[in-house]
């Protein structure tokens, strides 16, 4: 009867659920590390980064309905910003800066959000009148331009070190604790990837929180209104230009933060990490998970990070067991299956795997709306 998802729940049940989730999230790296090996904790760290990216893109694509195929550019901006401000690299080009810049994380991340947000506006401004395919093409171009800049800005002044990328980036450190090596807490050794897990988890929770708050505000409503009907949105007094730019800026700023975390985590950035394929990947997370539906997008981010990894590790041994040798190299198989999965989902669950109640019905069509007969007893 109601379309609002937040049906009244017993607050005690909700509290218990939250506590349970908190404990599960806190223990996850230990469980995964013990059960599947530390490499998988690393995979989970990446899943968290991708969730942040997917939630950022969700603002642009899911809420405001603006297709963006160059989103990874903002991730790149955040990552390179961190790399420049927290590595010896700049000392090479500007000897006066020796031994390079080593800014603290709390200064870099907000700056990364701001700079990426500004790039979001720069991308958004010329595309304001475009929709659909045309918007996709322009944003795709933008993503590539940024990557090509990263590739070539090693001359005349070596800013990005070109295709070799920037190395020796400082690991993230907070209050004298470096996340780059094992930390001893009361006799328990917490490996670096565990530490990053908690940091990324905190950042992800923050991003989720901001997303939820924005969605449920006059700004979130204005985004959705533009997605639903731009002309009607204008007639309602929404300055669609500014509100669209805001969507681009907010989405980009999430990407900028994730990029900074990525650079500190990897301690290495290069243009290779920011290809069109990555943009497509993040878009798939949003679309497969359920556009505009925050839990669905999170789910999409987790799924599309874990599945390819599982294939990477699993495909070889499984083939050897079945056929005695590896017929299809895991890397190709991964892309094949990925493409197949995409097609199947679009055919059978076009609203995504976990769409919001509203979108589910939107795709189900007007035919089956059981509550339609009920309420027209007006007169």
């Amino acid at each position: 009867m109601t379309t609002l998802e937040g049906k009244r729940r017993d607050p005690r049940v909700a509290l218990a659920g939250t506590l349970l989730l908190a404990v599960a999230l806190a223990l996850a790296p230990f469980a995964v590390g013990a059960g599947a090996g530390i490499a998988w904790v690393r995979v989970i760290d990446f899943a968290l980064l991708y969730i942040m990216l997917a939630l950022g893109l969700n603002i642009v694509v899911g809420f405001a309905g603006l297709l963006d195929l160059g989103y990874i550019a903002f991730y790149a901006v955040g990552a390179y910003l961190y790399a420049l401000l927290s590595s010896p690299h700049l000392a090479g080009a500007f000897p006066s800066l020796a031994p390079g810049l080593h800014w603290p994380i709390w200064a870099i991340l907000p700056l990364g959000a701001l700079v990426a947000g500004a790039f979001g506006v720069i991308l958004g401004a010329p595309t304001l009148r475009l929709r659909g395919d045309y918007l996709a093409i322009v944003t795709l171009g933008f993503g590539e331009i940024i990557r090509i800049f990263m590739n070539n800005l090693n001359r005349p002044v070596n800013l990005t070190n070109g295709p070799q990328g920037i190395t020796q980036i400082d690991p993230i450190g907070i209050g004298g604790v470096s996340f780059g090596r094992t930390l001893d807490v009361f006799g328990i050794g917490l490996p670096s990837v565990y530490l990053y897990y908690y940091l990324f988890l905190g950042a992800t929770l923050l991003v989720v929180f901001v997303s939820i708050r924005l969605e449920d505000s006059r700004i979130g409503r204005a985004w959705v209104a533009i997605r639903e009907d731009e002309i009607a949105a204008k007639a309602c007094g929404i300055n669609t230009r500014n509100i669209k730019l805001l969507a681009f800026a907010m989405g980009a700023s999430f990407g900028g933060v994730a990029g900074g975390l990525f650079a500190g985590f990897q301690q290495f950035v290069s243009p290779e990490s920011f290809t069109l394929m990555e943009s497509v990947m993040v878009l798939c997370m949003v679309v497969l998970g359920g556009m505009g539906h925050i839990p669905g997008v999170i789910f999409g981010g987790i799924l599309l990070t874990l599945l390819p990894e599982a294939l990477r590790y699993g495909a070889g041994p499984v083939q050897t067991a079945l056929f005695g040798k590896v017929l299809v190299p895991p890397e190709s198989l991964r892309m094949l299956l990925f493409g197949l999965a995409l097609i199947l989902v679009m055919l059978y669950r076009p609203a995504g795997l976990w769409p919001s109640a509203i979108r589910r019905r939107e795709f189900a069509g007007a035919g089956n709306s059981p509550e339609n007969g009920a309420g027209s007893e007006r007169e």
Binding site: L4, I219, K234, C236, E362, G375
Partner: protein
């Protein structure tokens, strides 16, 4: 023409509006004056330019020439959100609701320009934001009740009946606190009962101090409801007067109403 049909205080004064699409001259030198508190009808055969006039007035199209004075200031025609801010709200001939938002949310969107929460306010949800949100929800509910669709507040707009959708669009327009409400064929597709209750609604809107500009095909409705009526034909205003006299105007009868009023 009979502009002297006594306008007490002018709310809207459109002068020499012209608009063409390629070869089609949709509006030629249209001038009209709407008084505060009036229900002003705009009629004419299909393709006469009525909707185009709305679109120019509300900033969706920019006029080729002409200007509009509204409530003592020059109207920013060409910028829809500023027009709405200045106090003109509209509905659309082919309903334009936010189909996948609930009825309540549709009206809440109408509060956008009368509310202020920024990104920071929205994220922190401080006291001012909470109060503003509560006010938005409260007003939206009241407006839904006012137009009579409060029973469907939580249903998606697309699941509402046709008549309810038309009313919801009116509620959304009212949420912007307009001085002038422009309705583009609100009775189109309604049955007799729905039209009668729409008529009551328009009258109570006027009674609450909002001036109404009404495009309508239903001649009976227009003649019964409007204080004054302007007739467009091929983009030209051919008459503007009280309904009685417009009905008898030979030009009007010839152009359009002949069959319907004979």
């Amino acid at each position: 023409m009979a502009r002297e049909a006594s306008v007490s205080e002018v709310l809207l004064d459109a002068r020499g509006i012209a608009k063409s699409f390629g070869g089609v001259q949709a509006l030629r030198d249209v001038s009209l004056t709407i008084g505060r508190g009036e229900i002003y009808g705009l009629i004419g055969p299909n393709g006469a330019g009525k909707t185009t006039f709305f679109n120019v007035l509300t900033g969706l199209y920019s006029a080729d020439s002409g200007e509009v004075q509204f409530d003592g200031a020059r109207l920013d025609i060409g910028l829809p959100h500023l027009v709405t801010r200045q106090g003109i709200a509209r509905t659309f001939q082919n309903i334009r609701l936010f189909a996948n938002m609930s009825a309540l949310e549709n009206v809440m969107v109408g509060r956008h320009l009368r509310s202020h929460a920024s990104v920071i306010g929205a994220v922190l949800r401080n006291r001012a934001t909470r109060r503003e949100e509560a006010d938005i929800v409260d007003r939206a509910h009241r407006l839904l009740r006012y137009v009579g669709v409060d029973a469907r507040a939580n249903d998606l707009a697309r699941h509402l009946s046709y008549g309810d959708q038309r009313r919801l669009e009116i509620a959304r327009a009212l949420a912007t606190e307009p001085k002038l409400l422009a309705l583009d064929e609100p009775a189109a597709g309604m049955n007799a009962t729905e039209t009668a209750s729409l008529r009551q609604l328009v009258e109570s809107i006027r009674a609450d101090g909002v001036t109404v500009l009404l495009i309508e095909h239903d001649v009976k409705l227009v003649m019964g409801l409007c204080d004054r009526v302007a007739v467009l034909d091929y983009g030209e205003k051919i008459a503007e007067d009280v309904p009685d006299r417009v009905q008898r105007d030979p030009k009007v009868v010839e152009a359009y109403l002949g069959g319907a009023l004979a």
